[in-house]
């Protein structure tokens, strides 16, 4: 029963993959190797599509994977399997927090957790920045210092930073504008 297999496999991934969408990748590769239901070319294609469409990467991957194996129901069931452990665990954590919200130790823990959470997000921002604004590969090839920077991209980032500060509209407006600018000025170089 392919749907049951999909549900169980993705339930396991949801249970064991900690820390975001890309953490599910090794599990998907293992699943592919074990079952032979999907090839490594499929996985490469899946990553490319998941990263260039909206939505959480883990959910996009599960949908793509499930769809390739079991059509529309497959795509839906894979995602249901993936999110079910989260729903159960987070509800348990929520109940615990509600009960112990005023507890001295819980409050102390959050006092430390919040700046750590901010720091982790700053680090994630840094790694996206490396990909989006700099071209380390080109620099490694040519050794020319100015090749390290993607000038067009950096200019857009600086402009956006000030425009967003000034106008503070919904993020989708800036995303849409950036997509158009990317197309008009060939941001990917193609």
């Amino acid at each position: 029963m392919i749907y049951l297999t999909l549900f169980i496999e993705f339930f396991k991934i949801g249970l064991f993959a900690i820390g975001g969408g890309l953490a599910t990748l090794p599990f998907l590769q293992d699943f592919a190797a074990r079952t032979g239901l999907i090839t490594s070319a499929d996985i490469a294609n899946m990553i490319a599509i998941s990263e260039s469409t909206p939505g959480p990467i883990g959910i996009n991957s599960a949908t793509y994977f499930g769809y390739q194996i079991g059509g529309v129901p497959g795509g839906i069931i894979a995602v249901v399997g993936l999110v079910t452990p989260s729903i159960i665990i987070i509800i348990l954590v929520s109940q615990f927090l509600k009960k112990f919200k005023e507890n001295r130790y819980v409050q102390g823990a959050f006092y430390g957790l919040r700046p750590a959470s901010t720091g982790l997000i700053a680090a994630a921002c840094f790694s996206v920045m490396q990909i989006a604004l700099f071209s380390q590969d080109l620099f490694a090839q040519t050794g020319v210092f100015t090749d390290l920077f993607q000038w067009k991209h950096i200019l857009l980032a600086v402009i956006l930073f000030f425009v967003i500060k000034k106008t503070n509209k919904h993020p989708i407006i800036y995303l849409a504008a950036s997509a158009v600018i990317g197309i008009v000025f060939h941001f990917a170089g193609v």
Binding site: I18, I49, P56, R114, G119, I121, A122, I164
Partner: protein
């Protein structure tokens, strides 16, 4: 509007407009959930992200479940969570069925490269907003900077940082309480 429907639609909008995973969702959550709907505070959002990092599952889903559950219990958790995934279902299946070379299209690559720049700036703004609420004294500033630097230069899992920072928080607060007493 019915609050469950409102949870579903709001999170569907967030899911459909998020490019690049859980962190990229943060600016949307601040705008929609904190500023527009008042379903959570900036502090709560940070708590959810911290917990979402060290519990199994995808951060975006964990955060949606937290907020949905807080508003409307189990039903709220389900509506918010399936709201986040609904756009992925539609978009990915259409692409998988009809466009075999989607990611290779020049227009997609160029648009995405532009979007990526915007995502960097949006996350940077989100970090600044969060830092104003979470960095409130010297110890929290040290924790924030140390975690950021260590997670850039080492391969340690976020779980390590979250647990260490939680323990440190308890210790610092206990010491402060002791200092205040004596």
């Amino acid at each position: 509007m019915n609050e469950l429907l409102s949870l579903f639609l709001t999170f569907a909008r967030i899911g459909g407009l998020t490019f690049g995973g859980g962190y990229a969702m943060l600016p949307m959550l601040q705008k929609e959930v904190v500023e527009a709907k008042h379903w959570a505070t900036e502090e709560e959002l940070m708590d959810y992200y911290a917990i979402g990092q060290c519990t199994p599952g995808i951060i975006a889903i964990n955060t949606a479940t937290f907020i949905g559950y807080k508003q409307k219990g189990l039903a709220g958790a389900l509506f918010a969570t399936y709201g986040v995934v609904a756009p992925s279902w539609v978009i990915i299946m259409i692409i998988a069925a009809f466009i075999s070379n989607f990611a290779d299209l020049a227009i997609v690559q160029n648009a995405f490269a532009g979007i990526q720049v915007c995502v960097v700036v949006l996350i940077l703004n989100a970090v600044i907003k969060l830092a104003k609420k979470s960095v409130i004294d010297i110890p929290t500033a040290v924790i924030c900077i140390a975690v950021a630097l260590l997670s850039i230069v080492t391969d340690l899992s976020p779980i390590v940082f979250v647990i260490a920072a939680g323990v440190l928080g308890v210790v610092i607060q206990s010491l402060k309480a002791k200092g205040a007493k004596s």
